[in-house]
Amino acid sequence: MATVGEILEGSDRREVRPQPGRVPLTLRIRRYNPEVRDDSWWDEFTVEVEPNDRLLDALHEVKWYRDGTLALRRSCGHGVCGSDAMLINGRNALACKILVKDVAPRVTVEPIRGLAVLKDLIVDMEPFFAGYRSILPWLINDEGEPRLERVQTPDERHHYDDTTKCILCAACTTSCPIFWSDEEYVGPAAIVNAHRFVYDSRDQGARERLRILSEKTGVFRCRTTFNCTEACPRGIEVTKAIQEVKRSILFDRF
């Protein structure tokens, strides 16, 4: 490890690399408004934004200065609240994690697939959350609450770390071809959240969750296309988690 002194010596003083200077970005947006017409349509807007801006900033530029009717969800703006999953150039991603320079001069934005569109980029999340709730997404432990914390070693903590990262954005579930064709399938996000508890050393609900996921709406619908893993903006190894759950159902005795 370098000392502070060595780092000072080597400390470069160059500035933030991306230089300002606005660039044009044309957004092709799939629109839908049930109060205007029954089917969707495309609108195009060209805005001037900075290369380092987020695609979300460009959408805001449209909404606040061009067309206030454009509807989208957003909150934190840096990829942790899970509000703004969209189909961006044909792939699921968060609008707040995609930078303008990575898509300029032209980008296509659509709502995520497999959930009913309510308006523009806003879909009905209720079926998604119903899938989440179905796997009992809370810690189950009937031993009573000890006075102090339950001990969990860093290794045990690490065992379920990857699947704690789910932000419930639905990017994985709405990239899954099985979910598109079968709305009964709980989808990858629900399985990821089951995994998070099944492999938590403090949890005792594995048997019940695995029973739920072994039903016909559960994990065995998965055909391992890896779309979910590619879509996850948090980098969770979703397909791997699903495979682990499948294995636990088949081989583990809980």
Partner: protein, 569 residues
């Protein structure tokens, strides 16, 4: 007009709101609890908290020490009875979250780990990697799902508190899906809507942090307390304002100016990078003024350097920070220092409450950043806010439950009429309005510019007077606001117009309170009144809505064991 009755209505689904809902549900299985939120609860701004939650859990720690650090950090403006309650209940709340499944980071022996944080004299900040708020929020949301008596009104926007005969007895709220107002009656209403960082242009706050609960309470006649105290976090990314967690300094990160010098030795040599946020933010601004800062496309900045921690530590404890820096500015902090500058982060002030979360208006309660109890006084210490949401969320939930069990049902007809007027207002003022030429976005941008100019890190009589005038002018312009979207389904522009209404009220309270406080204390730094003045201002300010604008009154600070002293580090 659909009328729905619950025992308790909670507005806001972040840490404070969810903790309050669970506490109320635990208090009695007979209580019906509504959780009304303009976003799905896990989208709340708690999700962005990174560094940790403070609680005296460690072997070298005790609640009195936590209390003293908090009071000194507050520049003696915190109420000491509130701080005592806070520090004594904090450890229990952290343990309870563990029992509910929060994936706290662990020590090698399996106990909950603690890390150093600014202004805390021992390692006292528990954490879950550097996404503590995210894990805390999800744990609370998950736990809340176990209670069938908690009913979620997701994506509902509250437009008014329904008050009858001096008692708050419900809210008017519209479903964003259809813009139809519902009358939601309750025996207790709890505001947990978070902060208002969006009144400033450069903030770590989510787009949703528009001071809604503060605006609702203020218009119902409830004072907003200590609103002049706005926290700048010393380390945000230039441009976006994305937070570089204080945990980076807790783990050993260093700040350098453009001379390659740890400039904090000129300002707070005893604490250096672990000094409190107000002092560090001022130091960086002074370095900028002295020409000791770097200059980039998004203004001046200094360097936050964590390279010496090594990739392994960074990936274990500051993984998210690395991801953010790489994603948003193309810098990998393993190999390069991170450009940072002070950024608006937190409102110390808020809705006036007592230590049980009760406001002066019967039936109305508040907790979390929306509220001002006050444990934070003139400057909050990093990692106290998540714990505040837990401790005072739980307290307010229990208190509201106790009161609701004894209260009579509210008068339905009269309150439904009030809610009906809200529907008429939405339609008349926004959805079917003729004329009006002001866009939401231009008023909002002008407001943010005025706030930064007049009520930034350094303030003067003149700057604050200008800001007051600007806010008054913007309030007039707001009466001419017109929206493009006239439809009912997901009219997010209507939501934005109502949020701007709240922002204007909050901004007015901030600048008026700031103008009247002619001293420097904590985050409120007056160039024209550089010293703290306990004689005149060891008091909370209370901004009260009147026909002539905000009127400022004062209330004494509660002192128990720690007499006011010079704030020395």
């Amino acid at each position: 007009m659909e009328t729905i009755a619950h025992d308790i209505v909670i507005v806001g689904g972040g840490a404070a709101g969810l903790r309050a809902a669970i506490a109320a549900a635990e208090a009695s299985p007979t209580l019906s609890i509504a959780l009304v939120s303009k976003v799905y609860p896990m989208r709340s701004h708690t999700v962005s908290a990174e560094g940790g939650a403070g609680a005296a859990l460690g072997p070298d720690d005790n609640p009195d020490l936590h209390a003293f650090d908090t009071i000194r950090g507050s520049d003696w403006l915190a109420d000491q009875d509130a701080v005592e309650a806070f520090v004594s209940e904090a450890p229990g709340e952290i343990i309870r979250l563990e029992h509910w499944g929060c994936p706290w980071s662990r020590e090698p022996d399996g106990r909950i780990a603690v890390r150093a944080f600014g202004g805390m004299s021992v390692d006292r900040t528990v954490f879950a990697a550097d996404k503590t708020g995210f894990h805390l929020l999800h744990t609370l949301f998950q736990t809340s799902l176990r209670y069938e008596q908690i009913v979620f009104y997701d994506e509902f926007f509250v437009t008014k508190l329904l008050v009858d005969d001096g008692r708050c007895a419900g809210v008017a709220a519209f479903d964003i899906r259809d813009s139809e107002v519902r009358c939601i009656l309750a025996k207790a209403v709890i505001l947990c809507t978070g902060g208002a960082g969006r009144i400033f242009p450069f903030t770590t706050n989510a787009a949703i942090n528009t001071g809604d609960g503060m605006g609702l309470a203020y218009r119902a006649g409830v004072p907003l307390k200590d609103m002049e105290f706005v926290q700048y976090h010393p380390t945000g990314l230039p441009g976006t304002g994305i937070l570089m967690t204080e945990a980076s300094r807790g783990e050993g990160g260093l700040l350098f100016n453009n001379e390659g010098r740890r400039f904090l030795e000129d300002y707070i040599p005893s604490k250096m990078e672990l000094g409190p946020r107000d002092i560090l933010s001022r130091a960086i601004m002074q370095e900028i003024e002295k020409g000791h800062a770097f200059e980039g496309p998004y203004g001046h900045y200094v360097h936050l350097d964590i390279r010496h921690l090594g990739e392994k530590t960074i990936d274990t404890k500051l993984f998210f920070l690395r991801e953010l820096a790489k994603n948003f500015i193309g810098i990998d902090p393993v190999h390069e220092p991170i450009p940072v500058r002070p950024v608006v982060h937190y409102m110390m002030g808020g809705v006036d409450t007592d230590i049980m979360g009760r406001t002066p208006l019967a039936g109305l309660y508040a907790a979390g950043e929306t509220a001002c109890v006050s444990i934070n006084g003139a400057n909050r210490l990093g990692s106290n806010s998540l714990t505040e949401c837990l401790v005072f969320g739980a307290r307010v939930g229990r208190q509201a439950a106790e009161d609701a069990l004894e209260a009579l049902a509210p008068p339905t007809t009269l309150l439904a009429e009030l809610a009906g007027k809200e529907q008429d207002r939405l339609v008349g003022t926004y959805l079917q309005r003729e004329g009006g030429g002001e866009r939401i976005s231009t008023i909002r941008t002008d407001l943010q510019t005025a706030m930064e100019r007049g009520a930034g890190v350094f303030r003067t009589e003149e700057s604050l007077k200008e800001a007051v005038e600007a806010v008054i002018g913007l309030r007039e312009r707001y009466s001419e606001v017109a929206i493009d979207d006239r439809d009912r389904a997901f009219n997010t522009e209507l939501v934005a117009a109502l949020e701007l209404d709240n922002m204007l009220d909050v901004a007015e309270a901030v600048v008026r309170s700031g103008l009247e406080r002619r001293e420097s204390r904590g985050s409120h730094t007056r160039r024209d009144h550089a010293d703290r003045d306990d004689e005149r201002f060891l008091r909370h300010s209370l901004a009260i809505s009147t026909a002539e604008g905000a009127m400022i009154e004062y209330r004494d600070v509660t002192i128990t064991q720690w007499p006011p002293a010079e704030r020395k580090y």
